[in-house]
């Protein structure tokens, strides 16, 4: 059996994206870097959904629809996080999460 016809190949790639994203989230010390890592983890989730959709799901439209919804949510999340980063940068003049410890409002 070819590796591209095997469900496990895709699941391992999804797991790789998940843990690379997790490591990047720990390692990057800026808000934008953490957002980039979260996008990687979401891509891993999308790969998993489409892989199960291709190999085990009874209706192939379900996984594709769900992956498209993940993409929509991720785009909205990225837009909001970037606007938050711009607001934080304007107020604190830094995008380091350690520097943002001021809650006076």
């Amino acid at each position: 059996m070819m590796p591209s016809d095997n469900l496990t190949t895709y699941l391992v790639i999804g797991a790789f994206l998940l843990f690379v994203g997790l490591y990047g989230m720990i390692r990057h010390r800026t808000l934008i870097g953490m957002l980039i890592s979260v996008e990687l983890m979401l891509a891993g989730a999308g790969v998993n959904f489409l892989a199960f959709n291709r190999f085990t799901a009874p209706d192939p439209a379900v996984g594709q629809a769900f992956t498209l919804f993940i993409m929509g949510i991720a785009a909205a999340e990225a837009a909001i996080v970037i606007s938050l980063v711009i607001a934080v940068h304007r107020r604190f003049h830094s995008v380091d999460p350690q520097a943002i410890d001021d809650l006076r409002g």
Partner: protein
């Protein structure tokens, strides 16, 4: 015909290599701009996997939404947030970084071992197919509520992003 099959397999491994190097570039880059570049490369690899998984529509959407929209937005965020030449300081110290890499690698190995041992059962019978027509009908019949809610969420997100990012001293013209 078998030649095309092996060619498709080679392309498949090429996409896996794109994901691998893109992911590693994303987490190991010293400049945030390089991290966004790695993210775009990894997303193109994921789009190739979607093509192999039988949904060219999702592959196109992946390129269009992630590579085209999200990565460009991230580039803007990087350029607005800080000078693109500056690295993401302060970084983790050596000990903590090894700890993070070790625990993530261990988690990956454990999850991979679990995945390889698991036997997944396919559905007994399949309804529908991978065609665009079936997907479109599902969107407008079965998932119509979620589909419309996504539009509302995107609209609210765009409005909220504009309101949050607007400069506070700027007054509304009314």
């Amino acid at each position: 015909m078998i030649v095309y099959r092996y060619l498709a397999e080679c392309i498949f491994f090429g996409f896996i290599a794109l994901i691998f190097f893109g992911g590693l570039l994303t987490v190991r880059a010293r400049l945030l701009m390089h991290a966004v570049l790695g993210l775009a490369v990894a997303f193109i690899g994921v789009a190739g996997l979607f093509f192999h998984l039988g949904s060219p529509f999702m592959a196109m959407m992946q390129v269009l939404i992630y590579v085209g929209a999200v990565c460009v937005m991230l580039v803007f965020g990087v350029m607005v947030g800080q000078a693109p030449t500056r690295t993401g300081q302060p970084r983790l110290t050596g000990h903590n970084r090894q700890l993070a890499a070790g625990s993530c690698g261990l988690g990956f190995v454990l999850l991979t071992a679990t995945l390889v041992r698991t036997r997944w059962a396919a559905a007994a019978e399949r309804v529908g197919d991978f065609s665009m027509q079936h997907l479109g009908e599902s969107f407008l019949h079965r998932f119509v509520l979620a589909f419309e809610l996504i539009s509302v969420i995107l609209l609210i997100a765009i409005l909220g992003a504009i309101i949050i990012a607007r400069s506070p001293e700027e007054k509304t013209p009314s």
